[in-house]
Symmetry: C2
DNA sequence: AGTTACTTGCTGAACGTCCATTCAGTATGC
DNA sequence: GCATACTGAATGGACGTTCAGCAAGTAACT
């Protein structure tokens, strides 16, 4: 056969793709390994062989997703933060974060499931918490330049994340922005940015 | 025995209490009926006897929770909306909604789990979607009184819910407001209200 | 070029555990 | 004595994990 068989790296990523889809759709408990094997077109035993347990497979999925999140939202922010005003920082954050959430619907769901698995957030395994902390540090840094900051870093970040994230998780019709076109996303971003900035200025 | 045995109503609500706690903590798949029986101090077979299946028990829990949500956030709003300005409506909504979320941590989690169970939101069983629609109708109604509304009802409601709800679901330290004291809650409410109102005025 | 030996990738049936559901049977109140 | 409330052991299915075994690649040696 010309088809490459026995390619461990390909098998790994194929399983990770299928597992991410399954965990995003059904959560940790709801997903089962058989359906993952079927979607990944591998045998029933391979995930255990490559990743050990279901829990370890799940962590691999979340880690890979967290890495994408970091690359596409934190890194751009970190590169610009030294020179930017708080206005520009917020604008950049909203822009990259909303684009990211729109392009990665399964990560949106993974993050939601993760928020509900509380053992992780008190325990040592808390990738999302750590990412939040990094963005917070950047926000605090930029806010310090303002002599009269009318809002704290945590409150500002919490509002920003809430306004960006929520429309992607709510599925009630009229609220969900999941699967929206470019124009709708742009208006959404503008609205959020304007609201956050008016919150900084006023008061 | 003086203790009342064989009290179907008491058994029902005792099971509902335990089930709500279990479903809120672990979700539908993660919760198991044995632990619910233990917490409710009833026999292993009683939940099935009274509610039929696990799915029906879950629906009973969600319905009861949705009823509490309606009573404490929609009803107060409905009573005042006819006479109120949009400012007063927002203030009242934020006030009652935040108080409700703070006093009902397990409903916060139930709502989060519910948002992830997508079959329900496209299917006929969607209590939360319907509640959102009711509040939206009220917002639209009040907004109509303004000749020059600078924001749509859906966008306004989405922002309000996002800002109120998110701090209760995020568990990253520095963000979570779950278990906060009265003063912190008051400041939180004031901040949100101010932000939303400045979003209406400016633009 | 062919044979051997060894490593690595992978398979799928078998196993054990967990868990929702069922139901024959018991207790209770009227 | 009859309906209602409740019990808990039995049942069967779903699912994660294990593992003996097979196949594919690689290297060394003839």
């Amino acid at each position: 056969m010309a088809l490459t068989q026995r390619d461990a790296a390909r098998s790994r990523s194929s399983i990770l793709d299928a597992a991410e889809e399954a965990f995003a759709r059904s959560g940790y408990d709801g997903a089962n390994i058989s359906e993952i094997c079927e979607a990944a077109e591998v045998s029933r035993g391979l995930p255990s062989y490559l990743f050990g347990t279901k829990e370890l497979l799940y962590r691999a999925v979340v880690d890979r997703a967290a890495e994408r999140l970091r690359e596409r939202t934190i890194e751009p922010l970190r590169r610009q933060s030294r020179l930017s005003s708080i206005e520009a920082t917020i604008e950049l954050f909203v822009d990259t974060y909303v684009d990211f959430l729109a392009s990665e619907p399964s990560i949106v769901r993974l993050l939601q499931w993760e928020m509900l698995r509380d053992e992780h957030h008190t325990g040592p395994f808390a990738p999302t918490s750590q990412l939040f902390a990094e963005v917070l540090a950047i926000f605090n840094d930029v806010l310090k330049k303002r002599s009269r900051a009318t809002i704290g870093g945590p409150a500002l970040l919490a509002s920003a994340v809430a306004l960006c994230f929520f429309p992607f998780m709510a599925r009630a019709k009229g609220f969900s922005i999941a699967g929206a076109d470019r124009g709708t996303l742009r208006k959404h971003k503008e609205r959020i940015t304007r609201l956050l900035l008016s919150g900084i200025r006023s008061s």
